[in-house]
């Protein structure tokens, strides 16, 4: 199977094998914007490129070249220069249960959550919902067995290997550590998301 897969008449799914390579390919594509490309959607091991009306064989060969470049370069050029600092009030409903399950005091949960720089991997679930990667492995906890029917916007949460900030109020099963006043999603801003793929993020106790 080719490393560039067909995704319908107008789409090509490029296998990158890693999130870092996805981010590098995403950055290369956004800088060069091949003709006809409407969507560039990075994922943990792929980048989807949608280009209605484009010459797909030509796009495919262009993508193959960019993919080689993305896989070979080892620099961190794919990530944002700026680090988005997220002030958090650590008073989440699940803070105590996360501390209990991970066997550490609440202060250590907060220390580990603020102690590492994370990277927005990709977005999904809801507009502006970024899966933040690079969470301290000691903080891995499962999501709730029964999701909450409503989680307020600005809730700071973790689940499995990821952290996230709820961009809008929505149902959700992630474990709530706290809340931030930082608006990560605003449809009147351009871009509307503060956390596009490749953004570096650091949490800070407010």
């Amino acid at each position: 199977m080719s490393v560039i897969r067909r995704a319908g008449e107008h789409g090509l799914l490029v296998e990158t094998g890693s999130l870092a390579a996805s981010h590098r390919l995403d950055a290369l594509l956004r800088a060069s914007r091949p003709e006809g490309v409407v969507e560039i959607v990075p994922g943990p091991e792929t980048v989807l490129v949608v280009a209605p009306g484009a010459d797909l064989p030509r796009l495919r060969s262009g993508l193959a070249g960019l993919r080689d470049l993305a896989l070979s370069s080892s620099g961190a050029a794919s990530l944002s220069e700026e680090v988005v600092t997220v002030p958090v009030v650590y008073d989440g409903e699940d803070l105590a249960s996360v501390a209990e399950e991970t066997g550490m005091p609440v202060e250590e949960v907060i220390g580990r959550h603020t102690g590492r720089e994370l990277v927005a991997g990709w977005l999904g679930f809801a507009p502006g919902f970024a899966y933040l990667t690079g969470l301290d492995p000691a903080l891995r906890v499962p999501r709730l067995a029964t999701p909450r029917t409503s989680v307020p916007a600005g809730s700071v949460a973790i689940a499995g290997p990821y952290a996230a900030i709820y961009p809008t109020a929505s149902p959700g099963g992630w474990r709530l550590l706290g809340r931030t006043s930082l608006r990560v999603w605003d449809v009147h801003a351009q871009p509307p998301s503060l956390l596009p793929p490749g953004t570096r993020v650091r949490f800070e106790a407010a």
């Binding site: 199977m1 897969r5 067909r6 995704a7 319908g8 008449e9 107008h10 789409g11 799914l13 995403d26 409407v38 969507e39 560039i40 959607v41 990075p42 994922g43 943990p44 091991e45 792929t46 980048v47 989807l48 949608v50 209605p52 990709w122 977005l123 999904g124 679930f125 809801a126 507009p127 502006g128 919902f129 970024a130 899966y131 809008t168 449809v187 871009p191 509307p192 998301s193 596009p196 793929p197």
Partner: protein, 290 residues
């Protein structure tokens, strides 16, 4: 201004959606049967991407405070104009522009076939755009709320529009209930005969289908690969197969990323067939010849 007197089972404002934001988690949205909206717009002299109304199972009533040129396309419904004294003044047909006088009411019945009817008004529905589109996104909630009795819809400017130049779009024969698919991107997650299996027997459209996807019931597709697929970008028309093996054809409000393998993608020309399939309809897949 248009007064929604009754929206029918489900009605929304739709244009051609908000492309370019999938990487930020925003579905494309827009008319599920884009060809239907485009045609209705052309008939009243609008650009094809103007916002119109997408009715599901028809059965809607609208009051017009000002006169307006209208046209309907998509699932064919009976349409009548009633005057302010509660007397029917005329019947109108699909695919043809018609004038409604101030104070009159448009009554739309249920479609004889198909599911979604598009009503275009000359000037377009002029609600506030969100991220460049007036479409209601049923998955994320972006855009205007679905229509309710009492919703008031502003109509856009008509002065700069082309004149109305077509009397009638001849009705096309209903397309066969067939969805042509291109294999991939994840057909290798299924047994080698899974594509043949997909095409061998018809699938029934399930009751819980919506603008996100057409959920189908029929022969289960068997995976050969276990484990989870890392989340990846999804396209409209993707035939996604959850663990149940029962395929879902993604329509315009589909999530931009997903974690179930996609065995094939429906051709763009056949998306209208998927968008017009009613619960209980039977549709077949066929491998596209490319």
């Amino acid at each position: 201004m248009i007064d929604v007197l009754a929206p029918g089972p489900y009605a929304t404002v739709q244009d051609l959606g908000r492309p370019g934001y999938a990487h930020l988690g925003v579905p494309r949205s827009g008319a599920a049967d884009a060809a239907g909206l485009r045609l209705a717009n052309r008939l009243v002299g609008n650009p094809e991407g103007h916002a119109g109304l997408e009715l599901t199972f028809g059965m809607a009533r609208f009051g017009f405070r000002s006169g307006a040129w209208l046209a309907a396309a998509g699932a064919p419904c009976p349409m009548e104009i009633w005057n302010e004294r509660g007397v029917m003044s005329s019947a109108q047909g699909m695919g043809a522009p018609f004038w409604i006088a101030p104070g009159h009411e448009l009554r739309i019945g249920s479609p004889e076939r198909g599911l979604r009817t598009y009503l275009a008004v000359r000037g377009g529905i002029d609600v506030e755009p969100v991220l460049g589109s007036r479409s209601t996104d049923s998955l994320s909630g972006l855009g205007p709320a679905p229509l309710r009795a009492g919703t008031r819809l502003p109509v856009g400017e008509v002065r700069s529009l082309a004149s109305i130049s077509v009397d009638l779009a001849p009705p096309a024969a209903p397309p066969p209930p067939v969805l042509r698919v291109l294999a991939g991107p994840r057909d290798d997650w299924f047994s080698p005969d899974a594509l043949a299996e997909l095409c061998a027997r018809p699938y029934e459209v399930s009751q819980d289908s919506n603008r996100v996807g057409v959920r189908l019931r029929g022969p289960a597709l068997r995976r050969v690969r276990e484990g989870e697929l890392p989340s990846e970008g999804m396209v409209t028309g993707a035939v996604q197969v959850p663990p149940s093996g029962q395929p879902i054809v993604f329509l315009t409000d589909h999530p931009p990323t997903g974690g179930y393998p996609v065995i094939g993608v429906v051709l763009a020309a056949d998306l209208a067939v998927a968008a017009q399939a009613r619960p209980g309809d039977r549709i077949r897949f066929r491998v596209a010849g490319r």
